[in-house]
Amino acid sequence: MKHMKPFHWLAIVLVLGALTLSGCKTEHRFVKKTAFKDMDKIVITFAGPVDEAWATNTANYSVYEEPDPDIVLTPKEATLSPDRTKVTLTFPEALNTGEAHILSMTDILSEGKHLGPALLTVKKLYLGVLFTLLLGAALINNFVFTKYIGLCVFFGTSQKRSTAIGMGITFTIVIVFAAMMAWALYQFVLKPFQLTFLNIVVFIGLVSLSVQGVDTILRKVNPMLFKAFGVYLVLVIANCIAIAVPLMLADNEYNAWESLMLALGAGVGFLIALFLMACAREKLELANVPPTFKGLPIAFVTAGLFALAFLGFSGMSIY
């Protein structure tokens, strides 16, 4: 312990402080936590046992989505756990769990005591949302196999495994760089000046700009890496995913973190797609393919089979 520098201690104290603060922060002193369960349930955990007659009366609860307070959702059923600390509200329809919900309860009754009404926010963990976005862009909505974007570069550079990996990594770096710039430009320039109809023009310029920038800087700073990237860096300009990602983040009004996750997911998804395809095509070289199907035609058939396999991911949700 003697070797620890003062700023290590400071960091530990700060982290612990943040943890305790976040742990203590509740919206009502008698409610421990609220969470979504399945698609149509909300679970409320109380700090102590509550009265059964109060807890199971659905009239005591009202819920609405944060953006529209006029649409009140009433639970179909309220059930209390045997230890009387957990209430599960079941709704007649699936809840839009991507949105924060506001739950209001009338005067909480606990063993004869009145604990006052509560107004609570029910929402998913933000890290979970970000993780879902990353995995969604990489696998569930893989740009190549489910959206069929970026196919030209995909078929052009998936003949060898080494080229596939090189292209995938170069693309990931450039797309993250371009997407963050696109986000900043969209939020701070295009939106305030009401120029959002020029999205496409601006983003195309931005992608070529970031490719040119990476090219110029890398040539000097790391010539070895530049040699390794070779022609792929320029090919990124021709990749449709590089324009799809900025347009998507503008359309969905993603914030900086969400944009980063989308771009990273798109890059990793493209890398996965390229690598899988390169593995299959290396084997195809040795296979006895009918002459009419040799080369690109059989590659298209293979890509179709991959797309079918990726269809298995559709409809999956992580949180």
Binding site: F193, L195, V202, G205, L209, Q212, G213, T216, R219, K220
Partner: protein
């Protein structure tokens, strides 16, 4: 013409022009700062090649 539209169009031209100028100057400065001397051998070899491809 609606003056609001004219204002929007001129504003857009100015803003995009500024962005373009800004990034253009940025790229030019980067190109100068990270300038790499091209290998004279490359040029010579290219000259002697047929250049049909």
């Amino acid at each position: 013409m609606d003056p609001a539209l004219v204002k929007l169009a001129i504003g857009g031209l100015v803003v995009l022009g500024c962005i373009g100028l800004f990034f253009g100057i940025g790229l030019a400065m980067a190109a100068q700062k990270f300038h790499v001397e091209p290998d004279p051998l490359v040029e010579e070899v290219l000259e002697t090649l047929a250049g049909a491809q």
